[in-house]
Symmetry: C2
Amino acid sequence: MKKYHVAIVGATGAVGTQMLSILEQRQFPIEKLTLLSSARSAGQSLRYNGQSVTIQEATPDKFKGVDIALFSAGGSVSKELAPAAVEHGAIVIDNTSAFRMDPNVPLVVPEVNELDLQDHKGIIANPNCSTIQMVVALEPIRQAMGLKKVVVSTYQAVSGAGVHAIDEMKNQSQSILNGEKPEAKILPVKGADHHFPIAFNVVPQIDVFDSNGYTFEEMKMINETKKIMHMPSLKVSATCVRLPVETGHSESVYIEVDEEGKNVADMHQLLESASGVVLQDSPHEQIYPMPSTSAGELEVFVGRVRQDLDEPNGFHLWIVSDNLLKGAAWNSVQIAESLLKLKLV
Amino acid sequence: MKKYHVAIVGATGAVGTQMLSILEQRQFPIEKLTLLSSARSAGQSLRYNGQSVTIQEATPDKFKGVDIALFSAGGSVSKELAPAAVEHGAIVIDNTSAFRMDPNVPLVVPEVNELDLQDHKGIIANPNCSTIQMVVALEPIRQAMGLKKVVVSTYQAVSGAGVHAIDEMKNQSQSILNGEKPEAKILPVKGADHHFPIAFNVVPQIDVFDSNGYTFEEMKMINETKKIMHMPSLKVSATCVRLPVETGHSESVYIEVDEEGKNVADMHQLLESASGVVLQDSPHEQIYPMPSTSAGELEVFVGRVRQDLDEPNGFHLWIVSDNLLKGAAWNSVQIAESLLKLKLV
């Protein structure tokens, strides 16, 4: 079996460390592993398959000989280094928003649009975490019943904002429990004018605001869903909200399907056999997805499936997944596995 | 000015103590105050206007001479004692779900349907907390533009489940911060088969499940909204979710209005002049409602107003209010104030 030279850019981050752990867990056929980071973390080392790998500063020349480069170090790093990696012959799987809406870049969730990988020109984009888990659950429904409209409200974990946001939430939580005033320096957006405590609070802002009053996170969900599902005229709207949860995004999703006369049993049947989905929907036994039971798992968990009481074609779903795994690291590694399967690398 | 004999049933609870504090804050014209509770809390005392008031066990005879009885001690207590209070000549303002859908009982949010009080037959119901804040924000829109459809996803605080639920959340939070396993004995529903930690988690269950897969909390929002707004055929759906927040419910609300050609500026104008509403909607200054800024306030805070990008008549709103105040204690006291104003007591 052929083995590959794999690089991780942003190896020390919340997603980068998960990428490393999933590559190991999946026994990805790695010949050589290159771990890259900012100058600040270079020189440190991380364990992979029982061996210590020294982290190097990410510079263009480090991609010589690399077959697959997994990027998760922020959009500006991707914009600077991904083209260099491609020039050196690497296929880039980029977890930032830098190239997602570029018409020349496939935006891929393997359960939904794996074959879009065939059109890649060196860079493949990994969608936004909150988009990925939603389309995994909606694609089997779209295939069987058609899809007209999606209204989603998210319940997003702080790890989506990085390891420092997790520390901030924990420190704030301890301060509040001690009766002290919490300090806020990172959330909702690093570098924004105002910071608000997330501990024991709910913040209806993820990423910065667009001129239309939607946040970039909301526009990502709207635009990426249409691109991944190949449905430019799908009606999608999103409200994205941050909560004091460490890992695991939840989503309350209202959909309207095309086909008439469908019911919850039809939905259950579809979701039970859907790739990457685990149905957890037995309300009378109190079985439904939660972050506490989904964190650390690779799948997308779906429950609380209900038919709308007024709209016969309307359904409600509750979708939870680990935002660092299926929402980021696992979807990226899964794309790499698809590239191997499709003999594209 | 006439003064009244007021009783609070459930005086030691999360809502009861807020009722006491609001009666004092509003300088409600009280001649005599009777505080009632279960046998367990009887004999304790609470402060009112600088005086100590001894709590008595709630029994039918305690309502002799009472003009207004504010109930917030659970549905079974209301069912047992509210009729007795009415027999003794009291007007009951009941904060439980016991009588809300009774066609002979007005279900009142003063900003929306104050005049329904005129039809009372002794018992007046205070709606569910999550319903109240939503209808306060939607009523001015309904009046000006008509209302066709409402899809709400809630982000509800634990204080809605009582003081013990708050303690549970805090204890669980400290356990998790200490690296210990959290204990869950109350949430999502006291007496249910399974309990789940709420600290650093999201639980898509409030109250027990109905046979249609919706929770009672969701059905309350659906049915009560139609009753309060006098719109039996309004399309309403709800997904109710509990979060690790102490006080302050948030709601992501999608609506479709009847009138064509409306925009966000029209919505802002309506909400700015609406009774009981504070508009907090300046996204580029990061001004939007949050539980941390709404707890302790009497108003309903509305922000993140956006026009749907596909549905010209569709709008998105983010609505936050203190679930113990406007969601319970303040709405009850406000009903009492309306009774005085309308000379119904």
